[in-house]
Each structure stands twice: as structure tokens, then as C-alpha cells.
Symmetry: C2
Subunit: 301 residues, 2 copies
Amino acid sequence: MSVLVVGTVGIDRVETPHGERSDLLGGSASFAGLAASFHAPVSLNSVVGEDFPAHHRAIWEKRKIDLSGLQVVQGKTFRWHGQYEQNMNNRRTISTDLNVVADFQPQLPEGQKKLPFVLLGNLAPDLQHSVLDQMQKPKFVVADTMNLWIDIARTRLLELLPRIDLLILNDSEATQLSDEPNLVRAARWLRERGPRYVAVKKGEHGCFLSGPEGAFAAPAVPLEQVLDPTGAGDTFAGGLTGYLAGQKEANLSTLAQGVIEGTILASFTVEDFSLNRLASLSEKEIASRRRDLLRLINPNP
Amino acid sequence: MSVLVVGTVGIDRVETPHGERSDLLGGSASFAGLAASFHAPVSLNSVVGEDFPAHHRAIWEKRKIDLSGLQVVQGKTFRWHGQYEQNMNNRRTISTDLNVVADFQPQLPEGQKKLPFVLLGNLAPDLQHSVLDQMQKPKFVVADTMNLWIDIARTRLLELLPRIDLLILNDSEATQLSDEPNLVRAARWLRERGPRYVAVKKGEHGCFLSGPEGAFAAPAVPLEQVLDPTGAGDTFAGGLTGYLAGQKEANLSTLAQGVIEGTILASFTVEDFSLNRLASLSEKEIASRRRDLLRLINPNP
């Protein structure tokens, strides 16, 4: 079944200890959409300016992603400039130019309103609500968020929770939103407010998934070198949602397998800048890393 | 087969956000020895003063731990006073009184010299060397260490590496010793200097095991409440070594299962102060938590 991926599309400038790149394709919808497309048909909803280059668009077209919901409006595409510290775990935003994202109002074409799976990528909670308002009873709704929205739109974010099935956020955001330093309790606090499942991302320490049937924990793929962590979380969310869209049921078992698929794709994203690695990724490479990851977590190989 | 556990025995005073306790049984050999005894016969080698209370000794005797190598010498038992911060991950040492540990020289009774498995608990590298000097070709040697010895006895610690089969240390210590912030590279750096296996402990994020056949990663047991983390690492090392002593071979697979057993026992240790929880632990409780942990890490339940 198909997945609607809503989020930002941007042009990034990224500085890391390994180098600096400009004019990179970025944004939550860009990573999540491409990742989801490895497991399911994907339809994108986002906005870009007139300056958005054709070679970025070609990356999605190559993977047959439906772009009928990608608005092209007067003005400039969203831009982000970030810098990673030596350890690659901490980053700071040098500048954010919202540009056309400032006035973005998701407008769903008729075809998108009926899609069964929705990934509400990192966006203002108001816009995430607006997408759900336009949809006709989706089967499974996933939402990502970030510390900014917990800071400035906490109430609207909490109001979103009863409308979604899976909330994805990182460990510090889970603690910030629930005021619970313990992640088991934080996940329970969040689940009590709506979503049946909560996936807490812990960066290089992997992911903790909590649901009514129990929990699942997976490590990240151990990598000797991380070139650019940008988009790893969006890739994870996209890979997980795309995998779910191909399954008969969404339960702890299929979500756990989705966590594995999201983890695999995210491990490729960080090996190069932007979507470079993901855009050229083969099924064979995915299968090989899946074998590695399943071996890594199996105490009885 | 039997395990020789060498390390400190101390009397602890622990302050946590959940309360404060004094006159607790502590020290690396205390936790590691008790943990190992759930999987193998254990023989302890350590030192205490004349003030060491009989009720502490009774905890080991109840689990049939051989105390022939426990020296009782004139003076006071080692004492440690520590305080945990609100998040329970950071602790500071308020005072350390080495007392009889200051002049400790491990003296192995004849019976201990022939034991096939050795756990060199956290101790000065000089003392860890001295134990191996007295042993007759042990089958498998495990060593734990800490940041203090990396700071003040780095050369002797590096000289120990070719003499051991498994090095256990935490993530910050692995980085400190190897000067590698990346844990995959840090583990390889350490293995190139001697031990076939390296287990990097990551506290609440679990453990990363690296060996010639590949790697294994396990999360910690997710707990809603941690009462006192003291001794969790020693318990992990003891549980892992004890498990190995009961296996035909030491390879990535049996070590991975040992990591699971160490993780299970450590999850009990932190649920109460000192060895309180471990001392009253039943096989049934261990089996139940093993089922929980194996379910937690299995994406295809």
C-alpha cells in the first residue's frame, strides 16, 4: 500500500569535520520519502520555490515517487546551514531561512487524501493537524517531531497524539515532552496520551520501541565512519513507515521489523552527504547490511 | 568449570536521589563473585580487615563461594563513599579509604592457581599481572579496568592486554585508552593489542562486543526505576565470565550469550542497594527476565 510523506524539502549547507558541502538536497520529506520508496509506493507532499533545481527533483523521479503534491510557489526554497562537532553527535544550526516554508499550507490532491499510510515528517504541529483534517480515515499514521515544536507548540503537539498511531522522537525530546528522564516511563507517558506505539531514537545507541504488547530494542549499525548524520532520523522514520505499508498488520512484530529496516537505511544515509548514498543504493546492499544487523543482534547465530 | 574472581571487597556508603545507605557490602570482587556463582563454582581472592562483618561473609557462603583466598589482615576494610546525581548516570566519589587494600598482594592458594577461568576484577594492573604470574595456564582470562588505571598505570595496563582473552571496559574508558571516539575503531585498536574479545559497556545503552568473528550488540534491560547502579559493571563481568565457564567453547556465540546473562544479572543489581537483590535472587526470576530480554531483542517473536 502507498505512503503519503509530508514534510519539508530544503537546500542544505553542511559542515562536518570531514568536509563541507553546499546546495545539498535536504529536508524531512526528502529523506523520509526516498527511504520509504525502498519498501512501498510513495507520494510526497511539500513545497519548494522556483529556484528548486531539476537535478534534485530527478532523485525522487528515479525512484518513481509521486510528486503531484509538491507545490512549486513563488520565492526561494527552504534553506538550512548546520555544523557538526568533532564527535558528530552534536550539531548547531548556523542559519535557517524558512522562505516558502513560512507560508506552507499542505494541500492534498484528491489521490493523496485516500492513502492508507501517512508519515507526518518533522513540521509544525498545526500543519500536521491540517494534513489529517484533509485525509479520509488513514489506516496508520506516523508522526515525527523535534524540540522546537515542544518548545513553541507543545499544546498543539499534545493534541496531535490521539490522532496518530506511532510517535517517533529522540530520547531528549521524549524526556522534554514527558518531563520523565527515564525512557521507559517517558514512552508510557506518551502512549497514555494517544499513540499505540512510541519509537525513541537514541542516535548511535539505536532505538527503543514501546507498544501495548511490549517493547523492542535495536542497536544502530556500528559504523567506523560517519560522514554526515543529517537526515538519519528522517530516513529511519521513512524506512519504518514504508516497511509497515507493505505488511498485513501493524503490530509489535511488524513494527520491530520496521525498526530494523529504518535502522538499515539510516546507516547508509550517514555514510555520505545528503541523499547521495541512499540515491544510489541497491537492493543487494540493503540485503547484505540486513544480514549483518540481524547477525549483530542474534545471541544464537 | 570453576572461576577465580579477584578484586576488591569493600564497605560502601551510597547516596542516591532515592535514599542513602551505609555499611553496604561492595567492591568489584563482591559483585562479580556473587554474579558468577549463578553459573559456575566460584573461588574468591581478595582482602578484608579485621572489622569485616560476618553477615557480609555469609552472603557468599550462602552461595557456596570458596573463600580460601580471602585474606583477613590487620587493619580496616576498604571503604568507598559515593553519591549519584538525579539522573543516576553520573556519580562522584566523596571519599575512598584504601585501608588494607593499599598493601594488598594477591596470594593464590594452590587450588586457585589451577583454575581454568579467571576474572581480574577492577584492580591496579600490577596486581592483575601478579595474579596471572601465579596461575598455571588458565583457559580464559577476563579483565575489567577503570579510568583511574588508564590515568596512572597506562603502560602496565597495555602490557596486560596480550595476557588476557576478554577486556571489559566502559565506552568512555575505551575511548580514553585508545584515543578513538568511534567505538568500533576503539574496540579494534584494543583487540590489536592483545585480547581476542572486547566488551564495551554503555550503561543504560547496553553492550557492544567485538571479536575476530564479528560483533554482537545487546541493549540493557529497560527498567522503570534504578535504585543504585553501584556494582552493575562488576555484576555484568561476573555473570558473563561465570556463564562462559559452563560452556564447551569461548567464541562469539557463547560470549554473546554471556553478555545476555551478564546483562540480566546487572539489571537485578541496580534494582536495590548493594548485593541485596542479587543475594535473594531465584533461578525462576532469572529465567523470567531472560525471556523478557530475549523477546526485547527479537524482531521476529
